[in-house]
């Protein structure tokens, strides 16, 4: 067991639940989510001594400085690790370590972004940073979808995975979204619908790509000891791991050797658990291929076998591997970096309040964030007993 195992718990969560939030700014979302998550915990901003966030869209400024100002707090422990979508999953692990080490007591993690209402096309804009090493990439026209498509082509080449197999993920995730009133898209889709949707960057179809929505959320972490005296049943942090491997695609090792392998290994070892101990999984789903390689890297199936694994709707409601139970990025919400929603949904499942979308007897949940261009991974194992 790791040093931090069961020493801390998630005690408060909040989610905006408005994929089309035209009347809110991103700072406003951060602040409203902070207040709501602290209320959920039975705490206030005055109790917070540690603050985490990753980035502010459109501004190259210090998130761990400007957001505390906006919130009116003066934390004495901060972390603005930005590894893309995985950031917030990593923040929970960092918070757990800091609290366990006695460096802070109450950690607040917040996220908010409004790409939908500001008309940003997150996955298909050209990448506009001109610093090295991007000078060897930008002249050739990469896009985020394109980068993930490179991985999907590679996976198909190495293992024979098919468009239809990847489409199973889109269909299954949409089924979960039908049970989430806050999901952006809730009408059921079929494999055929996915395969007929426009190819954005071959082989990825539109319905294999996450939505672009507004959204936000917050998570509060504190010591297991303090958690006993607060409002909600504590959701204990059992294990955490993270890994970074590359950014530009020429530097990616291969789809068989990605951060999930390393972050997962660390988290499972720390928690003293194995993949078969996980009752519900929330895996970052920027694209279908993101999920495929995460399933393999985390050890839920052998490398190369994720196509078979997700077939016959295994990850759908009623299936043997409940996954992305809020409708994920593919159907529910994706404002740019959606790691926080993985944590929020995992906590909700373990608290037991998900109604028709509740995974029965859920005791252990796994949240895995993927960021950048399959560049980073952060894995979190949570438990309710």
């Amino acid at each position: 067991m790791g040093f931090i195992t069961r020493k801390t718990a998630i005690v408060g969560i909040a989610e905006l639940g408005e994929p089309r939030a035209t009347h809110k700014t991103q700072f406003q979302i951060h602040a409203e989510m902070a207040k709501k998550a602290l209320e959920d915990a039975g705490l206030t901003l005055k109790d917070v001594d540690a603050y985490f966030s990753s980035c502010i869209y459109g501004y190259s400024i210090m998130p761990a400085v400007i957001l505390p100002e906006y919130l009116g707090i003066r934390p004495t422990y901060v972390d603005s690790t930005d590894i893309g979508g995985a950031s917030f999953v990593a923040h929970v692990g960092h918070a757990a370590a800091a609290i366990a080490a006695g460096m802070c007591q109450v950690a607040l993690i917040t996220y908010g972004a409004t790409p939908w209402s500001s008309g940003q096309a997150i996955g298909t804009e050209g990448l506009v940073i001109s610093e090295p090493p991007y000078q060897f990439e930008l002249p050739y026209g990469p896009t985020v979808v394109g980068n993930y498509a490179l991985a999907a082509q590679r996976h198909a080449h190495l293992f024979g995975s098919t468009d239809a197999q990847r489409a199973e993920i889109s269909v299954a995730t949409r089924k979960w979204a039908t049970m989430n009133p806050n999901a952006m898209f809730r009408a059921p889709i079929t494999i055929n619908d996915v395969l007929k949707s426009r190819v954005v960057a071959s082989p990825l179809h539109v319905l294999e790509c996450c939505v672009i929505s507004d959204g936000g959320g917050a998570v509060v972490v504190t010591s297991a000891e303090q958690a006993k005296h607060l409002k909600q049943p504590p959701i204990y942090i059992l294990g955490a791991g993270e890994a970074v491997s590359h950014d530009t695609m020429s530097q990616m090792p291969d789809v068989t050797d990605l951060p999930a392998k390393y972050s997962g290994e660390k988290a499972f070892k720390m928690a003293g658990l194995k993949p078969q101990d996980v009752d519900v999984a929330e895996l970052y789903d920027s694209f279908t291929i993101t999920v495929m390689v995460a399933l393999e890297g985390l050890g839920f199936c052998p490398v190369g076998e994720s196509g078979n694994f997700v077939s016959e709707q295994r990850t759908a409601p009623g299936g043997a591997f409940p996954m992305n139970t809020d409708g994920g990025g593919l159907s529910s919400c994706h404002p740019g970096e959606r790691g926080i929603f993985l944590v929020i949904e995992a906590v909700r499942q373990l608290r037991g309040g998900r109604g028709p979308a509740q995974v029965p007897n859920a005791r252990v949940a796994l949240a895995h964030g993927t960021g950048g261009n399959l560049s980073s991974g952060a894995t979190l194992l949570l438990g309710n007993d």
Partner: protein, 137 residues
């Protein structure tokens, strides 16, 4: 000549030799004089052994398609006109680089396809290495 709308690489101290090479239609990669490791893109030291004793090797220009995608949608100027192939090519010397596959129909591109470098003029300082199927004129 049509206006060049794509991002123009920013030449810096570390990349100068590489881009100057492209102006001469040479594809230069770093070769470690200590351990023979070949790498791209240029770094201040060998990523394998750490030595700062790096030389430059003129690559043959031949390689294979490691992976690719046909991008149908990119809103950025210079790429908005229609489908193009974005790819990672593995040079026969070992290192991989991002590029476009040109001079063939996008649907003809396959992983493992042999390709060879061609240099697309950009300005008087540099040219952009692109790759086309080997054996094609």
């Amino acid at each position: 000549m049509a206006e060049y709308l794509k991002p123009i690489p920013r030449i810096d101290v570390m990349s100068k030799t590489y881009w100057t090479g492209t102006a001469r239609r040479e594809l230069l990669i770093q070769e470690c004089r200590h351990c023979s490791h070949k790498q791209f893109y240029p770094r201040p030291f060998c990523l394998k052994c750490g030595s700062e004793n790096l030389g430059w090797l003129r690559a043959s220009g031949r390689g294979t398609v490691h992976t690719f995608t046909v991008i149908n949608r990119n809103l950025q100027p210079g790429f908005a006109e229609g489908p193009y192939v974005f790819a990672v090519v593995e040079l026969e010397e070992g290192p991989r680089m991002q590029t476009n596959i040109i001079d063939c129909k996008p649907e003809e591109v396959k992983i493992g396809m042999p390709v060879t470098v061609v240099f697309q003029p950009v300005n008087e300082n540099l040219a952009l290495p692109q790759f086309r199927p080997l054996g094609q004129k």
